[in-house]
Amino acid sequence: MINTLLCSLVLATTQSVTAPTSVTPEAAMTQLRQLVAKSAAHASIVTIGRSWTGRPIEVVAIGADPSKSDTFPAILLVSGLDGSRPGSVSIAVAAVEHLLSTPELWRACTFYVIPCANPDAFAGPSLKWEGRANRSAHPIDEDRDGRIDEDQPRDINCDGAITMMRRLSPPASDPPTHMIDPGDGRLMRIPDATKDQRATHSLFVEGTDSDLDGSIAEDDFGGIDIDRNFPHRWSEFDRTAGAFPLSEPESQALAQFVLTHSRIVGALVIGRWDNLVKTPDSNGRDITGKTPLALDGADQSTWQEMGKKWRELSAQARSTECDPSGSLALWLYAHRGIPTFSTQAWGRPDASPPPAAAPPAPQPVPSDPAAPTAPPAPIAPIFPLEKPADEEAAAWLAWSDRDQSGRGFVPWVPFDHPTLGRVEIGGFRSGFRTDPPASEIARLGIAVSNFMSELAKRRPRIAWESVTAKAVGGGVIEVEAALVNQGWLPTATAMGKSNRQSPPVIVTVSVPKARILAGQRVTLVDALAGAGGRRSFRWLVTALQSEPITIEARWEPGETQRLIITGTTVTLPAEIAR
């Protein structure tokens, strides 16, 4: 209790050091509501569900007339899924602001934006450990002891962050697993036996053994990772993935929104998985052999092209590897067939070049472990001759040191732990490697908006071409026509075609079946490829005198295209009043 009280006092004084790098999700959502209120003619906001604790999950619809948003092809943006990425909410709000300034697009399309799909993940304890900051508030009993959330990570040394603890020469009951990386004394690594390296330390998440079961900080706040709770490649016995797919109110709300909005022709998810900076491997199949792990080979070129576009728009050059099992983006693509792109929105920036030959500096150790830590000076590696094992972590450290005043890493400091004895506490600050600086939010919002606009511009658009009708005698008319996709995206992804979830184009001839001598009265076209993909039709029809024959191509997300044949006269869609 004393420790907690002390920490809260210290926190108040160190707020400026640990202040979040971007606006809070809550503030961003307030800003969003103000934006929508100002643009009520073109935007509306609707609650589509509630989180575990009852917070609203809201969708903004942007279009020429929000009351008719369901009648247009739609592009969906989902953000705020991952609690370790609070900036993603702000990015989505910035994207809404920018989208509202592009009326030429939303006259033909609807943009749905769900900026904060997992609102509880941004609530809860003010400090979280980065490895578990992604979770919803649905509590789970991680250690199966019948108690909930009773052993959470804590900022026990009151430095304003929950980081890691390393213990040198642990006892036999806690065998060492790591050693200090010779390449950079701030990083820990698994020893390399080929170099005769030995483990010296054990690692723990910062906290105590509150429930006295021998494990440290093992039953954290909340528990379900919403973006692992979707059906494709759901992790069955991973408690953080939920009791069953779509077990959570947040994932249910998202799924029901998608299932009841069949005009969504493209989606972008901002979250932990990237499939834009790096196009996913399209070779792997799941255990049934019938569903790709991430991407069907026949869809790969679409993802490559859109990835190129995203890199242009966002200038994002790097992304973090991540297992997308159970993610919303995988489900939207693999089970719903929707072309779904997923981005972390921001990747590790380049660090400035190192200063010329700075002398190695020892790692600073504060004399009083409880004292607030000032932003440390950039630290040079202790053993500069060897490259750190974790090059990615080392690169983040370089950016932190050289460009961010060292704010990304809390230096290791000694601490007397109540059960572990002497430890050191330190490590990356939560969110540093996942959330962009505040100065980047507006730019990334515009990039997201432009990417959605690009998807809208490239949406499938079907049209009739090369239509002819000629009399072949005896009152029989031969009609030929080609149904063409004038958009860049296919009407169905290869995945949507194989899983039969993308809506087909339904071509119907208005005359009774008995008078269609050749050709089908109803034809389902599973997919028209992008950029001019076509399907030719030929019918022989017994026409009654002056009876108009309507040939209709109905594709659920888009506008129905009709042809009217009267005798041998063809009336094209442009000439038919809507």
Partner: protein
């Protein structure tokens, strides 16, 4: 209801005479005929009547609604005098997830009725009721059942739930179902007239359509029949050139469960996501809230099978040898009790199933569970063989008096010009004739009772107390499980499903210094846990028909008492208080 009370009153006079019991005639308080089938409203009424008649044992609750708003009911059978329902091991029994598999429901209802009738009169069943709990869900799919009874169907149709579905992807829901063209109340088979037909009517018995040999005659000419199969009775309602391709519903709720669920391009009818139907979701949430369920049975039809998972070959290794032994020992008893039933593994002996219900119980929840496919055509001849078409016809003529067939009729058809419609009606296949229903229900109930009798029953086999120093004592506890099902299946402990069993030692003036399992029951050493020795978490539980031994070192005085408690999700907690004396 008044009438029902009257009957109950009359019967109560006879039930204490004793003579009826020895003849296995167990009078009941509700008069239910077990030689007939019941539609969904009758099922509900029977369940309610049973609950009203046996308030000391039965309670009923609505756990959700079907897609069309029918109640999903669970009847709990528990003797409250031996403990609350959630303190005992429970058996889940359901039926009729496929709407056409109707006798599953009668079997569930029969089980409730028989257990209530037997309670207090039949010792083994009274003991079973006192030790355990039953959760019965008579019909998982009341919409499909209602449709099967009320609408024109065949033995195979109305398997689905009744949420309108667009099977032919034309944007319209359920717009091209079958039609009863000959007005016999069933959807029979339809044959189109075809001079190059594949079939002809048997000369001796024109009710039999037989295939024409495809091999040319000796003179090289090819023989043709008059009829070709055209599916089930109906027309092309939506003008798309297909007949009956988008009927009522159009999915399979027994492919909608989370364990190895796969989307519809892999598993037809699986739904948009696991538990996407109100029926499956309500049931799953209810089962998850009842971790005391230790055994499961889901009745289906047909084929005479006692099925266990896995449903797919790649999950074979998820049934560990220890669990397989438990399954096999129960199923082999079933093979004896159920003539012409075979113990089978779903993927290997039947077909691949992803997202099946018993697979979810077994693989996700670690519950020993079976699906029984009720009724086998082998019961017709009762000689172990399936009947030939001619034998089947004779059965229908001589035992069923033609009640399950409709005479073939030639009818005009908008697509096929002339069709032949008729044959077996919806009562003709998959379900027993009424006169055999009670036997089918009883044998399956008995098998399920045997299964329930295997749910874990633990006891302290021995508790030995020895002094081991000044004020120090060892307490060695041997726990036995007298039934076949372990307190934690291998699956449950392997995947850390639910809560581990827990053995605690507590007492005033008593401190537990150390505690842990003994690797060998008769050994001298034990494996002390590092933390909380007074409360051991026993992940792997107590094996079926087996023992495990634990040792504690406690500090106390010779007068200190120690309370030893062994608890877990799937058995009744046992507790014993001892004093620290070598001879308790």
């Amino acid at each position: 209801m008044k009438h029902m009370h009257l009957i109950a009153g009359l019967l109560s006079i006879t039930i204490h005479t004793g003579t009826a019991w020895s003849q296995q005639q167990l009078p009941g308080k509700v008069d239910i005929a077990w030689n007939r089938f019941y539609d969904d409203t009758e099922v509900l009424r029977i369940a309610q009547s049973l609950v009203a008649a046996y308030p000391n044992l039965l309670t009923i609750e609505e756990i959700g609604k079907s897609a069309l708003g029918r109640p999903l009911i669970v009847v709990t059978l528990n003797n409250p005098h031996t403990g609350a329902a959630n303190t005992k091991p429970a058996m889940w029994i359901d039926g009729n997830i496929h709407g056409n598999e109707i006798q599953a429901t009668e079997t569930v209802l029969y089980s409730i009725d028989y257990l209530c009738r037997a309670f207090g009169k039949v010792a083994p069943l009274t003991e079973l009721i006192d030790q355990s709990v039953f959760y019965f869900l008579p019909s998982v799919n009341p919409d499909g059942r209602a449709n099967w009874f009320a609408a024109q169907n065949n033995s195979h149709s109305s398997r689905t739930g009744m949420r309108p579905t667009d099977e032919d992807r034309d944007g319209a829901l359920d717009e091209d179902g079958p039609e009863d063209l000959d007005g016999d109340g069933s959807i029979g088979q339809m044959w189109r007239k075809d001079p190059l037909g594949t079939h002809r009517r048997n000369l001796r018995d024109p009710r039999i359509l037989e295939s024409v040999p495809t091999e040319p005659r000796p003179d090289g000419t090819i023989e043709h029949g008059d009829w070709s199969h055209a599916g089930s009775e109906g027309i092309d309602n939506d003008g798309d050139g297909q007949v009956n391709e988008d009927g009522p519903g159009g999915y399979d709720m027994n492919r909608n469960w989370p364990s190895d669920w796969q989307p519809v391009h892999v598993e037809g009818g699986a739904g948009d996501y696991p538990l996407s139907y109100p029926e499956t979701r309500s049931i799953a949430l209810w089962i998850l809230a009842h971790p005391n369920i230790a055994a499961g049975q889901s009745y289906h039809n047909a084929g005479g099978m006692i099925l266990r998972g896995p449903g797919a070959d790649y999950r074979e290794s998820e049934y560990h040898a220890g669990d397989r032994n438990t399954y096999d020992s129960i199923a082999s008893a079933g093979e004896e009790m159920l003539p012409y039933y075979r113990s089978m593994v779903i993927y290997k002996d039947l077909y691949t199933v992803h997202g099946g219900f018993v697979n979810w119980l077994a693989e996700s929840l670690g519950i020993i569970s079976f699906t029984n496919e009720l009724w086998s055509d082998k019961r017709i001849l009762q000689n172990g063989n399936d009947p030939s078409p001619e034998e089947m016809t004779r059965w229908r003529d001589r035992l069923l008096f033609e009640q399950t067939t409709t005479e073939w009729k030639e009818l005009p058809h908008p697509e096929f010009t002339t069709v032949l419609v008729g044959g077996g009606n919806k009562w003709s296949r998959r379900i027993p004739p009424p006169f055999m229903l009670e036997e089918e229900a009883h044998r399956n109930f008995a098998f399920t009772a045997f299964h329930a009798q295997q749910m874990p029953l633990v006891r302290f086999h021995s508790i030995a107390i020895e002094p081991c120093g000044e004020g120090l004592w060892t307490i060695t506890i041997d726990i036995a499980n007298d039934h076949r099902i372990p307190t934690r299946t291998v699956r449950a402990s392997d995947k850390r499903i639910g809560m581990a069993d827990r053995l605690t030692v507590s007492g005033v003036d008593l401190t537990v210094l150390s505690g842990g399992p003994m690797p060998q029951r008769l050994g001298t050493t034990f494996e002390p846990v590092r933390f909380n020795p007074e409360s051991l978490m026993i992940e792997s539980g107590i094996p079926g028909l087996g023992h495990r031994t634990f040792r504690f070192i406690v500090q106390g005085t010779p007068r200190s008492s120690a309370t030893i408690k062994f608890s877990g999700e799937k058995f009744k907690t046992i507790e014993k208080t001892i004093t620290l004396s070598p001879k308790p």
